[in-house]
Chain length 392, copies 2
């Protein structure tokens, strides 16, 4: 069997990030390091500015041991770009937010406008005292990314971003390492770090928002595939006679069920007489997925039907992926997770009916716990990982 | 980033298995071990009966170094159970066959009959001098397996095998460790060890035989999923209005395209007037996938159409899996790989048209090189791995 071992300094830094101050004695036990080796690592990381000593631990019977924690000066920037939003968070070493900003922005404005705004928000955070300098930046974008190159690659809903040097721009501007990933991957990482998948090592995070994507978390890390585009399930064909998709093919999953598709179908349903949707359309002249969610809560039949049909479509695709990948959990997140339990029931029903009994005997299908914070949380985790790797 | 490190003795034994005799000096270099550490490992493994010294290596300039190789007495048994066949091979430490037997057998005869026959063939090999004792046995079965427990789990085409203690029976009978896996997983391992996927670390092995299954090879090993049933793609639904499948659902991939489905469709085509198929049916009273393959080679239109339709179905499923998993190669194996280049062209066309350009820009879709030997090759690899792990 394979044994996966990270170098001790990485395990040490991650442990302090996830759990806070720990005594030297306990660190030696937890990391299974000989005490002299542990002390040497700690000394090196203190000198390099990653750690500080933090007083004495409670006695464990013998001599009291010194507590060690991450340097309070450490700062990571986490950025989550959505189709229509920018989320920026600055965190300390333990990934606790010290500043955050959320605003609307159209990703189609292009990388220069959007990243300029990100830099303005980070500059604001600096002026407001959130940091002196950043140790690393993590950023998620709503499209396929070459993780190795730090650039988006042919992202369907991000005109102007193809192969744009996102990592290079941020690294140059802030003088620290940066890591660029797909928005769904960072949400999966976030949910594993601080959400419902905390104790799970193999799971799928399915984001239903403007589009649909899937973060694949395997063996304690994001699985990105050969070219970094694993998890692109929004363009799996579910109906060869279905509607045209933005990608140029027909009948893709996200052409049938996504924020965009649901808004389109809601317009049709409003005109066909759904009271909840017709009222909302008359009041505001436009409909979104949120209107469908609210209509369903009020018991509007057309809204419930739309959610059920969408859940069934998505569930059928997930059933295939469960047969293929046999994960131990599926987490549903993204804006449309607000469609809630009607959606969840339909997805569960499709997956449990269609997949191999062995694969679904013990397969929780649950809503994201972190919600809209999953993205920045995961971006902060990736930023800290890349910063910690510099400590080698 | 994660660093995967196997213990030195495992890397040493695998290297000698894959490459044959190597000098101590070169081993220390290749394994990046300090020379005293390497010499101690070699000495320990010689004493334990895994290694022998094999003369002097050619000089590399300084003192000549002693060659080391696997003990010539090492023997592994590799068993590949198909729906209608038993393949047994006994190999030496380098996985070269020293005896092999192939015969027809119906897996539905149940585990006692089939494994008794396996034991008879192994006894025959012993009597004929192929081995004194076995160091490990690897066996593949045509159904889902709990790899951890060494038992088949709810295998659709293997009545009587559910939860039968295959590993326990073989271990008891032969007094050596045994490893049980799905037939498709062992084929993937075989193809990686000695076939077309030799230099590849992430690929899918798709077996088209009586049924359809997929071996998922990720990060240098088989990915088995949470319950060990990853890769069960034969029961992905491709047509909600399709024919009933043996699993009880409708429209599964293998109900539409597999050896069984092709034989069924060939009967229909023969009665509808396909000359190639009608002649063969008249001559033998029965049709198989092989008849369709031969008919297609002769240019029979109905046969070509059947293969094209099947290839298109399979290609559509593979397109979804490519979008999801972004592998670096797809290998097509199993009995129906004999359908050859018409099938391959259709699969390629469906995958390249439907998947994300980034994922297919450099994605070879190729036929298995090892053919019917992929299974026993992989079973021998797994047997050697489990034997080597005992050397800790």
């Amino acid at each position: 069997m394979r044994v996966t071992i990270d170098p001790p300094y990485l395990r040490l830094l991650r442990l302090l990030r996830n759990e806070g101050a720990i005594s030297r004695a306990e660190l030696a036990d937890r990391l299974q390091l000989p005490r002299p080796r542990l002390l040497a690592e700690v000394e090196r990381l203190v000198a390099a500015g990653y750690l500080v000593e933090a007083g004495m631990a409670a006695s464990r019977g013998g001599r009291r041991s010194t507590l060690v924690e991450l340097h309070p000066r450490l700062r990571f920037a986490a950025v989550d770009l959505g189709a229509s939003s920018i989320d920026v968070e600055v965190t300390n070493g333990r990934l606790e937010p010290v500043a955050n900003y959320t605003e609307e922005a159209d990703i189609r404005s292009g990388p220069k406008v959007i990243l300029h705004r990100v830099n303005e928000l980070l500059a604001k955070a600096r002026v407001e005292g959130a940091y002196d300098r950043l140790d690393a930046i993590g950023i998620g974008v709503p499209g396929p990314v070459s993780f190795r190159d730090g650039v988006p690659v042919s992202p369907p809903i991000m005109p102007g971003w193809d192969r744009f040097g996102v990592r290079e721009l941020l690294t140059r501007e802030h003088g620290c390492p940066a890591v660029v990933d797909n928005d769904v991957n960072i949400m999966a990482v976030g949910e594993q770090h601080g959400g419902v998948a905390h104790s799970v090592q193999d799971f799928l995070f399915v984001k239903i928002g403007t589009g649909i994507g899937c973060g694949i978390y395997l063996n304690d890390g994001v699985y990105r595939g050969t070219d970094g585009c694993a998890g692109d399930i929004g363009h799996i064909q579910v109906d060869p006679h279905g509607p045209m998709c933005s990608c140029g093919n027909v009948g893709c999953l996200e052409a049938l069920f996504s924020g965009t598709a649901l808004a389109r179908d809601a317009m049709v349903a409003a005109r066909a007489g759904s009271p909840a949707l017709a009222d909302r359309l008359a009041a505001r002249g436009v409909l979104t997925a949120r209107d469908v969610a609210e209509g369903a809560t009020e018991g509007d039949v057309a809204c419930i039907k739309l959610i059920r049909e969408g859940g069934h479509r998505l569930g059928s695709v997930l059933a295939s992926l469960v047969s293929f990948a046999n994960p131990s959990m599926i987490v549903i997140g993204g804006g449309l997770a607000q469609l809630g339990h009607i959606l969840l029931a339909e997805i569960r029903s499709a997956v449990y009916r269609r997949s191999l009994p062995l694969a679904t005997g013990n397969l929780p299908i649950v809503l994201s716990e972190l919600g809209s914070r999953a993205g920045v949380t995961g971006a902060a985790v990736l930023a800290s990982d890349v910063a910690f790797e510099q400590a080698s």
